[in-house]
Every structure is written in C-alpha cells, then in structure tokens.
C-alpha cells in the first residue's frame, strides 16, 4: 500500500509541477495526474480496509471524538479568519505612512467645504481601484463628495474639464475646478491647495543678473519652484536687480536665486536697508560664483567662503562626493519633520561659517553634510582631470550647507535663510527626496508663516532613498557574518561536548 501511495504521490506531484511550470494541461500533466490519482485512490481504499479496526465498538467513540475535535478546530479557524477579514483591521507599518493621509492633505481638504471629486474612469482600467480607495479615504475624513463618471458617457463634462484619459479626477469647489491627470495624494494635495487660493504673501524675486529664472521650464530652471510657491498662496513679483534701488512694498520676503554676476551696489545697498528695516531674505548662492550676496550674508554672521563641500558618505564609485545627500539637521522650524530618514539632496554646495554679530542673534546650522565632509577650497579643482584629494591637514566635520538667522534690530525682527546651493530647488531636483519641503518651509519661516510649515505628500510615493554603502558593508561584517559565526561556534562546542560525554 505504501509503495502504491508513494508512486501515486510522485506521479501527481510531477503532474502538478508540469501544470505549475507551463500553465498548460498537456499529455504529461494529464497522464501523471490521472495515474497518480488512481494510485492514490487505490492506496486509500487499501488503507481504509486496514482502518477497519478503528470501527470496532471500543475504538469508535475515540475516533469520533477526535474527528469532531478536528472539525471544531477547522470551523473555529475559518470563522476567525472570516471575522478578521470582515473587520478589515490593518496596520500600516510603512515608514512614510504610505497608506495614511498626510496631515498637510487633511488640513487642505478640511478647509474646503462642499467640494466634489469626480473620478472619470474606464471600467477596465485597473488603476481606478487605488484612486477610488484614496478618494474614499479622503471623503471619510473631509467634507468631500466622491462621484464616479464612466469615460465617454459625459463628453460635455470631459471637454469642459479637459479630461484626457481614464483615471482622471476633477475637484470642484464653487465655480472653480482643478483637473488631476495622475491622481496621487501629492497631486490631490496640490489641487486642493490651489482651490483654497488663500493669499499667503508677496515674494519679490530678482532677475537680470544671471539669477535663476522662474519662468524657465528646463531642467535647471525654477518654474517648478515658482509654481510650488504659487500653489502655497504666494504672489510672485519680479524686479530687475539692475533697477533695484528700493525693495518694493508690499514684500513679505525677498527671494534671490543665485545671481551669476555681481549684483550692482545700489541693489545690494537696497537689500541691506530693507533687511535692517525688518525684512526677510531667502538667499540661494552657488559655489564658484561671487555675486556680492556673500558679503551681505557675512555681515549677518553667515559667512560663506568660495569653496565647495565634499561629502564622501553617499558617493558612488569613482565619485568624490561633490553631491550631498543631507541627513543632518539642527532643530529649527525650517527643518521640522526632516531627519535621518527624510533626506535632502544638494548637487554641490558651498559651506557657511556662523558667527553672531550680536549676542542676542540666533543663528542655526539648518542643514549639515555628514561627519566625513571636508571643504575643497578651490571649486575649480572639481573640473580637473584628476579628482582632488583632501590634504593631510584637512579637517573632516559636519559642514554647514544651509543656515538661518534671526536678528532683532531696534525692535524689528530680521529673518534670513541662506542655502549654499540653488540647484537643489531647480526643476531637476526640486522633487528629489525632501527638497521641496525644505525650500518651501524656508520661505514660510522667512515670511513668518510657521503654521504653514509641513511635510507635503509626495507626488510619487515610492522609497528611492540611498543607503550608505560603507555602513551597509560594516553592518554585514559587524553583525551579518558575526552572528552566524558565533552560532556555529556554539554548535561546534555543543557537538564536541556531546561526543566527549
């Protein structure tokens, strides 16, 4: 009987493997499953004959009790599983709360009463399941009404809202609407923010002296930053730096995006006067450029020599580390929520050395490179054929690549945020890691809108953060291989002792 059962089992298993591998019910699978099944059946019949003993009056109650016990276990197991399924209890253990709404989204959503979300969909589109789930989650927490509309059944609405494809969402609030072509929490958040249309303040930006262009949609342009600022409610005003003799009013903050040429003296003086009168400045400066802003920042204790920070912590092979993945922040409203696992990326930054002009001033090293970072005095060496090496006297330390200062002068408060890099806020890098949050939160702080400081939901919700290669390797040697080694040693000792005894 055992031989028959074994042969049947092997044949049936071979048939199943062939089906599993090919997804095709061919002759091989058919013959094996058929013969295997017959052999198993025959073995089972033979087994039943042997089990006749179990049917004796003495054995019957024991067997019945046992079978009943198993039946109870089975019913209990299925009932418990079904109840758990019905309860729908789930715990989101993703680091970034992938399946939970960000506070920023909820706040923007709860601010809008009587908003309607229409999902235009093709019934065959698999993406609508996730979008519907997202909208329903929002509707459960905010005054939002969700409706579905099959595509091509409302051509007039599709034309009116500019719906181009399935899985598009139209958010309507009063007579205003926003069409979202690729709905994610991030894009819905931005649409809600635009619908909210609350004026946050006026920002003045300089142009004409090689400053970053907020109308340039190319990779190194800043149109994305400008759009993000407008989404958050700011009105942007552009002023030619050559014509700047007074900062125009109203201006809540002056934003200067890395001038490539030296600013005219009247412009620098106008900025200084305006700051001393209690103004706010968000300055982005680049390595290898002298614009006159550096001296101005130096006067406020944020000196930045023309050098570049090299941080090998996240450098790839054959890279010296001119690009910085920053994971170190000092406590400040600008860095609220950022931390070891919420990094920012700087494609090349100059350092800051902080020294308080007055004892009451408050200067903070907002963003720092890693403890292995060092300063390359001549940024031009980055373009040399041989990569520069740190000299023997070079000190490796946390280097400041962004700083914030708060000064009180004659009962007026001055706020300055300075970044040693502008490219991190360019179109190419604005949505990398948490760059957008850092740049926008800096503006919010400078304009004294601390309540608006938040971490925004990401347009793309996937984890693309790098892991330091060296620490991964050291963890492998330190823990990954050490633990098995210790265990094997313990096993070896136990084996030797067993032999000796």
């Amino acid at each position: 009987m055992r031989e028959l059962a074994l042969a049947g089992f092997i044949a049936a298993l071979s048939g199943l493997v062939s089906l599993y591998a090919t997804d095709h019910f061919g002759a091989f699978a058919g013959i094996n499953l058929g013969l295997g099944g017959l052999a198993l059946l025959a073995a089972a019949l033979l087994g039943v004959r042997r089990l006749r003993a179990l049917g004796s009056p003495h054995s019957r109650p024991v067997v019945i009790r046992g079978v009943l016990r198993i039946a109870v276990c089975l019913i209990l197991a299925v009932a418990l599983e079904r109840a758990a399924q019905w309860s729908g209890v789930e715990f989101d253990w993703t680091r970034e709360g992938r399946f939970e709404l960000a506070p920023a989204t909820l706040e923007a959503c709860q601010d809008l009463r009587n908003t309607r979300a229409t999902l235009f969909y093709d019934p065959e589109d698999p993406r609508i399941r996730r979008t519907r789930l997202l909208l329903d989650t929002l509707a459960a927490r905010c005054p939002l009404r969700v409706v579905g509309q099959v595509l091509d059944e409302a051509v007039f609405d599709e034309d009116r809202y500019g719906v181009g494809s399935s899985n598009s969402v139209v958010l309507e609030h009063g007579d205003r609407f926003e069409t979202i072509a690729r709905p994610t929490e991030g894009t819905i958040y931005e649409a809600l923010y635009r619908l909210r249309s609350r004026l946050s303040g006026v920002l003045t930006l300089l142009y004409g002296n090689g400053e970053g262009d907020i109308e340039d949609e190319r990779d190194l342009g800043f149109s994305g930053f400008a759009t993000a600022l407008e989404t958050e409610g700011y009105r942007l005003r552009r002023v030619a730096s050559a014509a700047l003799v007074e900062v125009p009013t109203p201006t809540d903050a002056l934003v200067i995006l890395s001038p490539r040429r030296h600013l005219p003296d009247p412009a620098v003086n106008a900025i200084r006067r305006w700051l001393d009168a209690g103004g706010s400045l968000v300055a982005f400066i680049e390595p290898g450029v002298t614009s006159g802003l550096e001296d101005l920042l130096g006067d406020y204790g944020l000196a930045s020599p023309d050098a570049v920070v090299i941080d090998p912590a996240y450098a790839g092979r054959n890279e010296i580390g001119a690009s910085i993945v920053a994971a170190n922040y000092e406590a400040h409203p600008v860095t609220q929520g950022l931390g070891k696992n919420r990094m920012t990326f700087f494609p090349g930054a100059r350092p800051f050395h902080l020294s308080k002009p007055q004892g009451s001033d408050r200067l903070v090293r907002v963003v720092l490179a890693s403890h292995r970072a060092w300063v390359l005095e001549d940024p031009a060496l980055l373009d040399a054929p041989e990569p520069p090496e740190p000299g023997p006297n070079v000190r490796r330390n946390y280097q400041t690549i962004a700083a914030a200062g708060r000064y009180v002068r004659e009962a007026r408060e001055i706020r300055i945020v300075a970044f040693g890099d502008a490219e991190f806020a360019s179109n190419r890098h604005l949505r990398t890691l948490y760059n957008l949050d850092l740049a926008l939160n800096a503006v919010h702080w400078a304009t004294e809108r601390e309540p608006a400081i938040t971490l925004r939901p990401k347009i793309r919700s996937i984890v693309q953060f790098p892991l330091p290669i060296e620490s991964t390797l050291s963890a492998l040697y330190g823990i990954g291989l050490l633990v098995p080694e210790v265990l094997l040693l313990a096993g070896g000792i136990v084996w030797l002792r067993g032999r000796r005894d």
Partner: protein, 262 residues
C-alpha cells in the same frame, strides 16, 4: 514544577543539546544576511547609476519607478527567504514527534501525568519558540543595515512578521506530518510536499471557476505572507497563520487518539 513546564524544559534542553539547532540558526542567519546584503547592494548600485551625473543627477524623475526599496529589496528578499524556509522548516520539525515514536519514548511520555494535549502543546510551543528565535536572529542584520541607513525599521518589521508567521505556518504543517509518522524522512518529505501544494493555487485559476479560485486563493500560503512585503499587517493574514496552527494542533492531538486504538 508542573509536568507541562518540565516537558517544555526537557524539549528545550534536548533541542539546544544537539548541534542541529545551532546549525539551523546559523544557516537561517547566514542565508538571510547574504540574501539581504546582495539585494541591498544591487539596489544601491542601480540607484547610484541612475543618480550619477551622466544619467541626470539625483532628480526623482530620472530614476525609474521600479528602483525602490520595496521592489528591489523587501519583496525579492521575502520571496527568496519564503522559499528557503519552505525547504528548511520541515527539517527542524521532522524529529519532534517522529523521533519519539520510532524510539517508543512517546509511550513513556503518555505513562506520566501528562495528557496528550499537554504533550502536543509543549512540543508546539518549543518548536514555535525556536522558529521565532530563528527569525529574530535572521532579523538582526537587515534591521541594523536599514536603521543605519536612516530608513527606519517599521517596514522591515512587517516583512519579518510575515516571514515569522509563514515559518510558523510551515512548522505547523511539519509538526502535523511528524505526528503521523515514525520516520523522520517521511515526515520531512510530506511536510515539504504539503507546503508546496498549499504554496499558491494561483496557477489553477485557468482550470476552475472564479468561486473555486477565490476559495483556493484563501487557502494559499504565498498570497498571505506576500502581503506583508507591502508593509501592511492585516489581521486576517495573521489569523490565517494562527488558524493553521490551531488545525495542526487538532490533527497532532488526533494522532495520539489513533495510536491508542490503532
């Protein structure tokens, strides 16, 4: 000390008195460490290749969606380890009941004050504890690497919770097979076979109706533990593995009844 505690103590002593337990722990820790490191290295290399200046810098738009920690590390690691444990766990469970039966020491156990329920409970408890220890040992390196990288350990904890429950499910199947067999080899092979059959019924979908496919899917191991790789711990999936243990307990207990009358 109660007889149950004494039996649990004896089971632990016999488990850790043999080098097999240490070898199993070593293999689990080593395989996990190497698999995890390999995927982590690959993820970093691909990410940095796309992040290099020639490929457009670290701009998120220049990095394809599939290069992320879930798809390149957590998910494949879980798949590989799940299959590895499918082969390894029956080796751990094969001796638990079968050895006692082949030596006849189960009769001795039954002649003590211990009830069959207590005997089964003690053996299940010790085996599950060993499986949890095995997973905890395996978890140390991935947790260290991920935490050092500043990525937080929450998602990884979900992955290892899934793997631990999967291992407990496999141990339940293995223990049932061991309870019905005298031979450790038969116990291990049948443990593998049943786990393999229960692994995933997805391939049967083209041959059965939708209703049957849904029922079969609900019984499959793979979709249940695979769901943890998303970082979501669902109560239904936890209960599924607990249910496997409950049913296995009932079956193992039944094997004692059959021995009395067989």
């Amino acid at each position: 000390m109660t007889p149950l505690l004494a039996l649990i103590r004896k089971e632990f002593a016999s488990l850790f008195g043999s080098s097999l337990a240490y070898v199993a722990l070593t293999v689990a820790a080593l395989v996990t460490a190497l698999t995890f490191f390999d995927h982590l290295r690959l993820y970093n290399q691909v990410l940095f290749a796309y992040a290099s200046t020639t490929m457009g810098g670290f701009a998120s738009d220049s990095i394809p969606d599939y290069i992320n920690l879930w798809d390149l590390v957590f998910f494949p690691v879980m798949e590989q380890l799940g299959l590895t444990f499918l082969a390894a766990i029956p080796l751990v469970t094969m001796r638990v009941f079968a050895e006692e039966r082949s030596r006849g020491t189960d009769e001795l156990l039954l002649s003590t004050k211990l009830t069959p329920n207590q005997i089964v409970l003690a053996k299940f408890f010790v085996t599950f504890a060993f499986v949890v220890l095995m997973m905890a040992v395996s978890f140390i390196y991935p947790a260290t690497a991920i935490t050092r990288g500043g990525l937080g350990v929450e998602h990884l904890a979900a992955v290892f919770t899934g793997l631990t429950l999967h291992a407990i499910g496999l141990a339940s199947i293995g223990l049932t097979c061991s309870a019905f067999s005298r031979s450790q080899l038969v116990s291990a092979i049948s443990g593998w076979a049943i786990a393999f059959i229960l692994w995933d019924f997805g391939w049967m979908q083209p041959f059965v109706s939708e209703g049957v496919a849904n029922v079969l899917d609900a019984f499959s191991l793979h979709p249940r533990y695979g769901a943890f790789s998303e970082g979501v711990v669902s109560l239904a999936n936890v209960v599924y593995f607990a249910s496997l243990a409950i049913v296995a307990f009932g079956l193992a207990r039944f094997s004692f009844d059959l021995r009395r009358v067989g």
